[in-house]
């Protein structure tokens, strides 16, 4: 079979060229494509449908914990942005800047920007400073606290090495920004959000994640503490999938967010910020997909069940289509994970094999074929996307309609279990520098699969060691676990005492 026809697997396979396989899955599943604007992508309806599901579900979790959405300006005056020194330094290289308004035709007949602005405007790479300006107006007394606001928005960070979903100049995200009366409350908020992100990743995206703190060198510019969830995808690299920052009083000092506390004294607010982005779509694809295309967890798939009518003969066609529509209508009336099942009958006049492969590549969790012979037996043919594309199961129609939510749940759970098994198999406890270097170094002749992953190793807390490991191996500390269950030990690089093991990996 030719690779040019759609009736085939993805080329190359994952084990041949993982980055190129990823690009091909994104393309074959029609999730997104590069645009002519450097680093900016077009999110196609199938990819955007995944993001909409993520949005709706996470938004529900944020609402349930008293957060409300609002919207703040896209533009940040340069003077605002520069208020927090570490912050502006951290983002300076990635800023896109509006310097002019209006276009006019110049002497050569070319269209050019016409009116320079008095003060340039930075397009938000993140909104702490512009939102802080509002909060400074809103907060007067401890009675005005906490402020618990979230924003769904686009942000821009100029990207020299873009990769669809994972790293794009413009991306979509939610950014929460809260103000609290005390340090303890703000720390608790940052932790609450970390827990929500972990739960969201686990239950909705089927992503097992490690949670904890970032080292100083990986902290958000301006934060006191950055908490993170880190996933491992199929090339055994880490992806930072969401972060929650305790900002102390750094940004409230910069923006002037002051309140009269219970003792009648003026005090700066304690703030947090936190976000997840469209990067999650890429993470899900890298985690669950296979050599045949995308594999989507049922909870976030835009279509959960596709029904493929098999109509070889004209005289049975009407009856088959009618049966398909009936099954679809009953599934639409059935709820899975709190919402009606999203089902689609693919009536297009294309070959059955072409359609089947299209949905395989798009990663629809469950494909259901109904043809004349199924009608006779009053049954359907099921294909689960978490199993081989050739595996089919025949099931009585009634039973299928009744069991559909349970089957979707089973697919969701199997994806999580597979991801967890993979991660655990590729997470090593390492106790010597030599083993550490061996783990992250591909030996000639040895298959790359047996190297790399997450290494749990003791570290003395020094930034120099981090720097050296990064230079030697491109490996960084992904997360410092928060739990106090860790054993004390010796740093494997220096022999110095270490309070806990930290998790190291190569990362996106």
């Amino acid at each position: 079979m030719s690779n040019a026809t759609p009736k085939t697997a993805i080329t190359p396979r994952r084990d041949e060229d993982f980055p190129e396989w990823y690009q091909q899955v994104i393309r074959a599943a029609e999730l997104a494509e590069p645009s002519d604007v450097r680093g900016c992508m077009v999110i196609r309806p199938w990819g955007y449908g995944i993001w909409e599901n993520m949005q709706r579900q996470l938004d529900g979790m944020l609402r349930a914990t008293s957060h409300r959405n609002a919207y703040f300006p896209l533009f940040i005056p340069l003077s605002y942005f520069a208020k927090e020194a570490e912050h502006v330094e951290g983002f300076a290289k990635e800023c896109a800047v509006v310097t002019h308004t209006r276009l006019e035709v110049d002497a050569d007949g070319k269209m050019k920007p016409a009116s320079p602005l008095t003060e340039p405007l930075v397009i938000r790479p993140t909104s702490e400073t512009i939102i802080g300006a509002s909060y400074a107006r809103w907060v007067r007394s401890y009675r005005d606290l906490p402020i618990l606001i979230n924003q769904w928005a686009n942000v821009v960070r100029w990207e020299m090495r873009p990769r669809l979903f994972l790293r794009t100049t413009e991306f979509l995200w939610q950014e929460g920004h809260t103000v609290h009366e005390t340090e303890a409350e703000a720390r608790a908020e940052a932790r609450l959000i970390l827990d929500i992100y972990e739960r969201f990743a686990r239950d909705h995206l089927a992503l097992p994640v490690f949670t904890g703190e970032k080292s100083d060198s990986e902290r958000f510019p301006g934060a006191v503490q950055t908490l993170t969830i880190e996933a491992m995808v199929q090339d055994r690299k880490a992806i930072q999938a969401g972060t929650s920052h305790f900002l102390g009083q750094n940004f409230s000092r910069a923006s002037g967010i002051q309140f009269q506390n219970r003792d009648g004294k003026q005090e700066f607010g304690w703030t947090t910020s936190w976000g997840v982005t469209t990067r999650l779509v890429g993470t899900v694809v890298m985690m669950h997909s296979d050599d045949d295309g995308a594999v989507l967890p049922p909870r976030i798939a835009p279509t959960q069940i596709v029904i493929l009518p098999i109509t070889p003969k004209e005289q049975t066609r009407a009856a088959v289509l009618e049966a398909c529509d009936k099954v679809a209508a009953r599934l639409s009336d059935t709820r899975y994970a709190g919402a009606p099942i999203e089902v689609l009958v693919d009536r297009r006049d294309l070959g059955g094999g072409v359609k089947n492969w299209e949905w395989i590549k798009k990663g629809v969790p469950l494909r259901v074929e109904i043809g004349p012979r199924d009608l006779e037996k009053n049954s359907v043919e099921l294909s689960r996307r978490d199993q081989s594309v050739k595996a089919k199961e025949s099931m009585p129609m009634e039973e299928f309609v009744a069991r559909a939510p349970e089957i979707l749940t089973s697919i969701q759970e199997s994806l999580y279990a597979r991801a967890q098994k993979f991660r655990d198999a590729n997470t090593r406890t390492i106790d010597s520098k030599k083993d550490f270097y061996d783990f992250f170094t591909s030996k000639s002749g040895a298959k790359p699969e047996i190297h790399g992953g997450f290494a749990r190793a003791h570290w003395n807390g020094s930034r120099e060691i981090e720097e050296q490991i990064k230079n030697d191996l491109k490996v960084t500390i992904r997360v410092i676990p928060l739990e106090d269950s860790s054993e004390h030990g010796q740093c494997i690089f220096t022999g110095e005492p270490s309070a806990r093991r930290v998790i190291w990996a190569k990362a996106y």
Copy 2:
């Protein structure tokens, strides 16, 4: 009572200074506020909640008609944008332009934009040209059509005279962009969307609108035909509340959207675009609110029912709060207009009058007081926001819970009926130039109320007449009705034959 306390009506009244009244309602209801970035507003949670409801409900109508959401880049390369001549001319004055990336500290220690871009990027004022570039890649054959895509996004049009919600430099909107095989299909799509907008305005926003076509001078730059819905607000001015454009082949020629038609020939696609914006929030406020504050239609109010516990004595406090929570829980389990009722118990430790006035100003459709005496009688005290703030109705608790959806429906309908009555009372059929000028000219001594509104008058179709009326009276043609029910007649300005009456008004 002092105007400085929150326990008062809005100052000034509508009939004293309508524009200032509007600003004060927006502020008092905490819907939005200006930001320090010229023309950009902050949409506060209460205002954003209204927009979220509008989004969800309109999105459902668009999905039900086979439209799907996607996301395209914020940036448009200047060369793309300039492809359609009329289009770039129409938007040139309003463009914000990114010319640089990166910030660096200059010799004076000042932060400055550092790296100039080879090609400047326009921040989308609308996305026909950037989306057209994708469509040109996607469309090959008539089998790829129609493309029915919508985008929820922010856009930027530099605004010299901003007004919260109605005219802001950055605003939020949905923009649909479709491609069709034939002119007839594209025209039918533009018409379908007009019908959806009309229905959405009527059933969700309680806004009666006139629908029809724009005159050439008010057409979208680059369109063949612009359809519009026009509302009349309480100062009897028109607000254009949504537009649907038939673009012919203008933009497909500019972007190269070509397909092989059924005869095997290459043909340019027929496209449409259409949108509604956060301006709708301002329109709703201007239409329904009163001298006490905002009045929100129940279907789009973020909170539909607020329960105010009256707790004068400590010993009855717990029982009152418990009763409030019980009623709230039962209301949350009740559906209104297809969704659970949004209810909130305001437990804050503030004076009852202060809280009551806060919710009056925010425009919550139904306020419910429950105090010790109500508990004894097992009843509640209802205040409908569409009635006087002093009107209260006592109702048995059980009856109230059962009838809540019906009461919300009644409020929604009464707002619509009131708006329609107002519009009809201020729409005149005018048959002479003198009457027309009188209608739009405020006479000394005469109350301004009795002048202005919508004038239905014959017009010969000439652009010069439009221009003259605009210069003389600041009055424009808001809409040319599509229905063929109109009588033929004579242009009231020239005496020339006219095929139909058109609707004239002052407009936002």
